[in-house]
């Protein structure tokens, strides 16, 4: 049986940083399992910046300022000790990245350059043109090559194995050969990213951001936290959900409905297009609901009046994205857009070291929830989260692995994974992955999207129950073993259904509005009753059971969140 001291599932920023930290201790066997190749991970899509109070641009910036901005941005749901730690450690992890060769843009003095970002009181987003995530990911991958990290590419993890107390390992599918294997490990770090794909057709996420690690942990009995909080970004391209940066509105773009009106005058007459993200998303939803959207339920981002020179100089990438992915040239026509599910604040519940209730099992990055982002994440803090907590989990897992022996593996550990695959492969069915997935996406967008209310969410519950029943009947048609992507997408769909259920559950129970969670029937924030984390575990009947844990308030008393 393959055996490792530290096994990392997921090869984005968090997973790769953890792997490097572990591998630096050359006596340990470290492996990364990824269902793609490391440089394909979604970390690479991050564009804007990574926050750290380096004070290179604004000498008055401190990690304490950053801490406050983060807590306020979270609508006070972030655990303040975790947020403190993240902001305090930020400068160090950024510098470590730089020492490893990350090509940050520079100030006149040759220091790491920083720029302003949404929700930040001081200028602290470190950047590399508009590709910070991409260069960070490649830097980490390349250093991994240097250090001899073992990469198991195109291996999809199916089960997390533990004995109720300690980590044992995982079951994984080698996609290339189609063979299942149990891999023993003293420590496992789950770092598989977010679950934005529950909103299947309305997300900026990659196809594979199906919350695999989060679902695995859930099915293994681990608690998940704050799953109902999913951040929507107002401007995603109509066909694909690909993000159109806020910069386009910053440069003076207009948001128009199908009648050609600048509709933001109805919702934020002063700030217009530059209102906060959740407000703009809600405005767009309302316009479409009230029948003023385009033929595909879209609105339009109009840049034509900015003129050719301005667009080519300031917004060339936006233009490339529109032409390449929507077939529209913003020099000539308005861009069709829809709000897009962007970031999953929720995830596997961990402490500040990324540790779950099972010894040796960790989570880090978007798939973890410490929580540092609470109900709403600040731009630039996600890349920071993966570095800080990837590092911490890596360090802690390494120490743990040093002090532990390999535990005896369960009897017949592969059985659950084999059963699961057999259930999907044996037989025929009229259900298809595409149908269930499309229906899931539509259901979630309509019943648990930007606007939520009790009636819709209850219907959502029923709808999901039906989808889960349909999924149980699903049989895939491709019976081959080798590189069976119909199988892997079916498995991913199963993960999405589990997580969608918890989103709806949490949204229904939380009778308040906070951050990205907006209840039309409870439009105010309610700190008295709801300054708590929603914690979900899997019940006997396979439905989520919710309980609540208090938010750690150490420094900042909750205030009204105005900008």
């Amino acid at each position: 049986m393959l055996t490792y001291d530290v096994l990392i599932v997921g090869s984005g920023g968090a997973g790769l940083y953890a792997a490097l930290k572990s591998r630096m201790e050359e006596d340990l066997q470290v492996a990364v399992l990824t269902k793609v190749y490391p440089t394909r991970s979604h970390t690479g899509a991050a564009q804007g910046g990574v926050n750290a109070a380096l004070a290179n641009k604004d000498a008055t910036d401190t990690w304490q300022d950053h801490w406050f901005d983060t807590v306020k941005g979270s609508d006070y749901l972030a655990d303040q000790d975790a947020a403190e730690l993240m902001c305090r450690e930020a400068p160090e992890v950024i510098r470590e990245m730089e020492h490893w060769g990350c090509p940050f843009d520079r100030t006149e003095e040759g220091k790491i350059a920083q720029r302003p970002f949404g929700g930040a009181s001081k200028i602290r987003a470190c950047y590399a043109a508009d590709k910070i995530g991409h260069v960070m990911l490649h830097t980490l991958y390349e250093q991994g090559i240097r250090r001899g990290v073992n990469y198991f590419n195109e291996w999809m993890t199916l089960s997390l194995l533990h004995d109720g107390q300690r980590c044992l390992g995982v079951n994984a599918l080698d996609i290339r050969s189609g063979k299942l294997q149990t891999i023993q490990a003293k420590a496992v770090i789950l770092a598989t990213g977010g679950y934005g794909r529950v909103y299947w057709n309305r997300t900026s996420n990659a196809y594979g951001n199906t919350g695999d690690g989060v679902a695995l942990a859930y099915r293994a009995g681990l608690p998940l936290k704050d799953i109902e909080f999913v951040q929507f970004h107002p401007t995603g391209l109509r066909r694909t959900g690909i993000l159109m940066s806020e910069g386009a509105r910053g440069e003076g773009g207009y948001l128009l409905n199908a009648l050609g009106e600048r509709f933001m005058s109805r919702y934020a007459p002063e700030k217009m297009e530059l209102g906060p993200r959740d407000m703009v998303s809600r405005a767009i939803e309302t316009e479409v609901r009230e029948g003023r959207g385009g033929p595909d339920g879209e609105v339009f981002l109009d840049l034509v009046h900015l003129g050719k020179e301005r667009i080519l100089e300031r917004l060339p990438q936006i233009r490339e994205l529109c032409c390449g992915f929507e077939g529209v040239d913003p020099l000539e026509e308005p861009i069709p857009i829809k709000p897009t599910a962007h970031y999953s604040m929720g995830g596997i519940s961990t402490d500040i070291n990324g540790l779950t209730p099972i010894e040796g099992v960790y989570a880090a990055g978007e798939s973890g929830c410490v929580s540092v982002h609470g109900a709403n994440r600040l731009g630039g803090n996600s890349l920071l989260d993966i570095l800080v907590f990837g590092r911490r989990a890596g360090n802690h897992a390494t120490e743990y692995a040093r002090q532990t022996d390999i535990q005896p593996m369960l009897q017949n550990p592969l059985a659950p994974a084999e059963t699961c695959i057999k259930a999907l492969m044996d037989g025929e069915s009229s259900e298809t992955i595409a149908d269930i997935r499309r229906d899931l996406g539509n259901l979630m967008a309509k019943k648990a999207g930007i606007y939520r209310n009790a009636a819709d969410l209850t219907e959502g519950q029923a709808g999901l129950a039906e989808l889960k029943a349909r999924y149980k009947r699903l049989k895939i048609k491709d019976k081959s073993q080798a590189f069976n992507t119909e199988l892997t997408t079916a498995l991913e769909l199963g993960n999405l259904l589990d997580l969608a259920e918890i989103v709806v559950e949490g949204a229904l129970v939380r009778q308040e509005s906070r951050g990205s969670h907006y209840r039309e029937d409870f439009p105010q924030r309610n700190d008295k009753d709801w300054l708590v984390h929603t914690v979900a575990t899997r019940g006997r009947d396979e439905r989520p059971v919710l309980h609540f844990e208090p938010v750690k308030i150490t420094q900042f008393q909750p205030e009204a969140r105005t900008y």
Partner: protein
């Protein structure tokens, strides 16, 4: 004054001819034809996904970010390696004038299934180039209290190469990869160059050696890689730069370096390359046989053999340029 917005969206029924192959099951690759209603904005990837979702679930291809940043979805469309996710179908159908496109997997790499190829050979070649920073302790502090200082100008020496997403389109299109399994491929040499000129690095010599071991002078400069790179990283340019720093660092003894030196010096001295003498300049005494053969060919046609070429009238002007450039480059090094 508002005007109703009616977006222009066209539709066209097209045929997608896609290569299929399951090793171990099929004897050889074959083609399947799929009918797809293509509309404005639809990409090759969307069409493939539509086929997989509604017509043939076994159609296998890679895809992840669908926004041209992860590099997973490279395929060959009508003979051209492209990112499926950012390649619009409507313009291709119109450009080729036929309502049909052919989609095949990347070339020169083993097929794992249908449009999925094994990219491990590319990764292995990349790994041999030491594609990572090796700290130059003169630049990078020992502790994490400070970042290393670097100017934006130093960054711009290599920054464009960091756009590379390892999509391997260049590898698939490369003329030398086609004829030589040992050749490293454009993206790997570009990465070797990227780190070699990063001011914080200390491993340049090792990378030059690694590049030479894997064919630094095997690139024919056909520039197909520049054509197909979706990120405009211009690998063929990086290969010429890598050759330049290799020669600067003292690699003078390869045929490629000798050619570079001969061309450069000849143009300064006589305004053109002394082609008749090149065999000896590049290959040493072995070259005389070639010179003699060439002279015999000339004699056959009644032409005078010559080991010289005339000095072009423009030589003086060129020589002045060389002198001035030498001055400038000296100043820049200081």
């Amino acid at each position: 004054m508002t005007e109703k917005i009616t977006p222009k969206r066209e539709k066209l029924l097209a045929n997608l001819r896609v290569q299929r192959y399951t090793p171990g099951k099929d004897r050889a690759p074959y083609f399947d034809n799929f009918k797809v209603e293509v509309e404005t904005g639809m990409t090759v990837l969307e069409a493939l996904r539509y086929i997989k979702d509604t017509q043939d679930g076994s159609l296998t291809f890679r895809a992840f970010c669908r926004s041209a940043i992860c590099g997973s979805c490279t395929v060959v469309v009508n003979g051209n390696p492209v990112l499926a996710c950012s390649t619009q179908l409507m313009p291709i159908l119109k450009d080729f004038g036929k309502a049909s496109v052919t989609i095949t997997p990347l070339q020169r790499l083993p097929i794992l299934r249908d449009l999925v190829v094994d990219i491990d050979p590319v990764i292995e070649k990349l790994a041999k180039m030491h594609p990572y920073l090796m700290e130059n302790r003169d630049r990078i502090p020992e502790t994490l209290e400070q970042e290393s200082l670097m100017s934006q100008k130093e960054l711009s020496e290599f920054n464009y190469i960091t756009d590379c997403i390892l999509c391997s389109a260049c590898f698939s299109a490369c003329s030398t990869v086609k004829v030589d399994d040992n050749y490293a491929g454009p993206l790997t040499i570009a990465k070797a160059y990227r780190y070699s000129v990063d001011a914080r690095d200390s491993f340049r010599g090792m990378r030059i050696q690694a590049a030479m071991d894997q064919g630094l002078w095997s690139c024919v400069q056909c520039r197909k890689c520049i054509n197909v790179c979706p990120k405009d990283t211009r690998p063929a340019d990086s290969i010429r730069h890598m050759r330049r720093i290799a020669i600067d660092d003292g690699i003078h003894d390869t045929p490629g370096s000798r050619r570079a030196k001969a061309y450069t010096d000849d143009v300064e001295k006589i305004g053109q390359v002394n082609k008749p003498m090149l065999p000896v300049i590049v290959h040493g005494t072995k070259g005389w046989a070639a010179i003699e053969a060439a002279e015999a060919a000339l004699a056959k046609h009644g032409l005078e053999p010559t080991r010289q070429v005339c000095t072009l009238p423009g030589q003086e002007g060129a020589a002045k340029i060389y002198a001035k450039v030498r001055e400038i480059e000296k100043k820049e090094k200081a």
